[in-house]
Symmetry: C3
Subunit: 298 residues, 3 copies
């Protein structure tokens, strides 16, 4: 039997999304995992990402997996080994699933083509996919509203650098939600226009059910963008200020993939406010990753 992989948001049909959300919600309600054999997992983070890394570590342990530590920054990769050979090595050592974060887009395509003998779980690739983040976003929305059809979702901010925005908009559209965009207009490129209109932030906020704020990825800005960037200006023009938040519908929720730049994407006081689901997203992330990892072994 070939190994199953979870590498791309494109794998997720609406029916599969429903199935994963149902399983993750069951885990959150206390369901027991159903792994029928001992599983050894390794997390290969070639890029720093605290919350994703820690979340997978927790999910693996809650599933009863044994986690074998692997630090790519101390690895043979630095001795010129190919990623394929690194994975063949840890598979030979007995690791059954590799959770990988890597700076290169679609790093997993040649690995799957080479038929590496273990399961792959993509924890983010370059500016490409981040399927577990998309799935925990969907779960958080589903948990709140019970459905997706007709929901008004505003996605605001650093669209250009966001791997999450692209997957989320595509999947939410498939699921029947209406997506609109805001933030700096230069970041609203043609691929977003296919999915929904650009709306000035002051018009958008009073009309949403879900306000997804994207992180300004300061570390990915070009030199010129960095020179021009001012946190205070961004906040005033494109951030969710306290004043603006007061115009949100009462049932609406605020989401953010984190880490948050407080007083940039949103006012610091809103981070733990009643409409914020930012830490709920993180909590849900563990249960969703449990569902995704368990699926690999079904």
């Amino acid at each position: 039997m070939p190994n199953k992989h979870f590498v791309s948001a494109d794998q997720v049909t609406p029916a599969f999304a429903d199935q994963l959300i149902a399983r993750a919600e069951a885990f959150k309600a206390g369901a027991e995992p159903q792994l029928t054999q001992p599983v050894y997992a390794s997390n290969l983070f070639f890029e720093a990402s605290t919350r994703t890394h820690t979340s997978f570590e927790m999910a693996e342990r809650k599933l009863g997996m044994t986690v074998i530590p692997f630090d790519p920054t101390h690895s043979s990769v630095t001795k010129g080994e190919t990623l394929e050979d690194t994975l063949r090595t840890i598979a030979a050592i007995g690791v059954n699933v590799a959770v990988i974060r890597h700076p290169e887009d679609a790093y997993y395509t040649p690995l799957i083509a080479a038929d590496v003998p273990l399961h792959l779980m993509n924890a983010g690739d370059g500016a490409g996919q981040h399927p577990s983040q998309m799935m925990l976003d969907l779960m958080t929305i589903h948990e709140e509203f019970g459905h997706f059809a007709g929901l008004r979702v505003g996605i605001v901010g650093d669209l250009a650098h966001s791997r999450v925005a692209r997957s989320d908009m595509a999947m939410l559209t498939k699921l029947g939600a209406q997506v609109t965009f805001s933030g700096p207009k230069a970041w609203y490129t043609a691929d977003f226009a296919e999915y929904g209109p650009y709306v000035p932030l002051k018009e958008l906020v009073p009309q949403v059910d879900v306000l997804m704020l994207l992180r300004v990825q300061l570390e990915r800005l070009t030199e010129a963008e960095t020179r021009e960037f001012s946190a205070a200006n961004y906040h005033a023009q494109f951030g969710l200020t306290e004043e603006l938040a007061a115009t949100m519908p009462k049932q609406a929720i605020i989401m953010h993939p984190a880490p948050v730049n407080r007083d940039v994407e949103l006012a610091s006081s809103l981070v733990t406010g009643p409409q914020s689901r930012i830490f709920t997203q993180m909590k849900n992330g563990v249960f969703m990753r449990m569902a995704m990892l368990e699926w690999l072994f079904k």
Copy 2:
């Protein structure tokens, strides 16, 4: 119920010290831990500290906790996240207790004010507190003598940079011990004078029950201090040489928070000698940390 924290030596009353020492001694004698629920722990070391880190890792496992690794040097902290948000994140992920070492004095005060939703255990802050080191020192003295009242404790060396010296002198005084100080006189500042006199080392050594040697923290010296520092000179003037050690009372013990600079604070041959309790301190550290961590969940 609010979360309990163990952040400061100031929390420790003499009665509480007795209770923790009794529990740690019970663990050393083989008592079973009494955690009534699964506990997930993370160790956030923003500063290097092998022995404290490893000791907590061991204590957590001996208590049956699951340890979720977290490397702050690879973390979102480097993407500008606040410490509060990092802790809210790992709490959302399911971590129940964070053991933290941080270079900033009293880093925990704003965290507790913000009511972060998990237990905090301070493993050392800047030049401030290091309560688990104080407690393992007390345990080691108690184990040796069975009491504190009337014990003569000499604290020698780098008082100025020692977070341990301050807590130890205060607590030992409360418990009825008599504290005296020695070492370079420039490091004997007014706050120490309140607790006990300065005594030249040759007079001090023959009169002690406990000789606490402090580590010369070369990495914290000023540039000028570093230029002037000579290991051989320090050892001759302020170190415990073999000759001087011969004048110690037979029942007296040598303590040191480690890592030791051999042939600086004390002669190399004394490190594993019959009066040394340096490795006993480390052994006791695990049992004391078990008692402190268990207390958080009682």
Copy 3:
């Protein structure tokens, strides 16, 4: 009872090698480990080595040991602590076995002389010993042929920098195999000549049962060697090309300690080809390390 250590290939008599191979093969076939007490292990890697580190991590967990993480690059070693004191510390904390990789040749000699109170397992020292690599090589050959006597083993390549080549040639000779060498002639020094002749690669390949290719350790070459080195030239002159591989006997196997430099030591297509045992070596490494670690506690 003094602690047992496994530090050198010189400890391994032919009878002991047979015993370890039998035990490792039993583990591979599903035998249960026989540790009669809880064991705490720490892996101290002062040099990067993914596969060895990960392999020991797996072996320890499969034996049921508890692994206490220890990162020497964040350790008190950087505060000037001696290696002896680091080991005394982790022993005091409760660690029973330290698996160590260290850049210094025979780093373990003073530790054993000082009688450090825990078991030592050498995972490689400088250009010296690497007993677990030797043992997994022997296991892989034994698994293939069922014996050593009369086997023709060709060892090819970077003899000068290889800690494995020296142990392997000595042990294989003791076990009755015939060793020959090839590769750049400058690396075939007098100590190798004692064990077997130098044979040009084209003559060697058709005559072997086992072809052991050694990694070109680019990171250990001198500056002059690095300037002169060309991967394509090395491959053409001293590498196993596809053409040359076609002249190998059908029953012969290809071994390599990895990480492989593809298209340097051997053609990329051969790495996972039918005669390659490279990933078998890694798989066997876990079972052999289980046998070696278990032996420490027998």
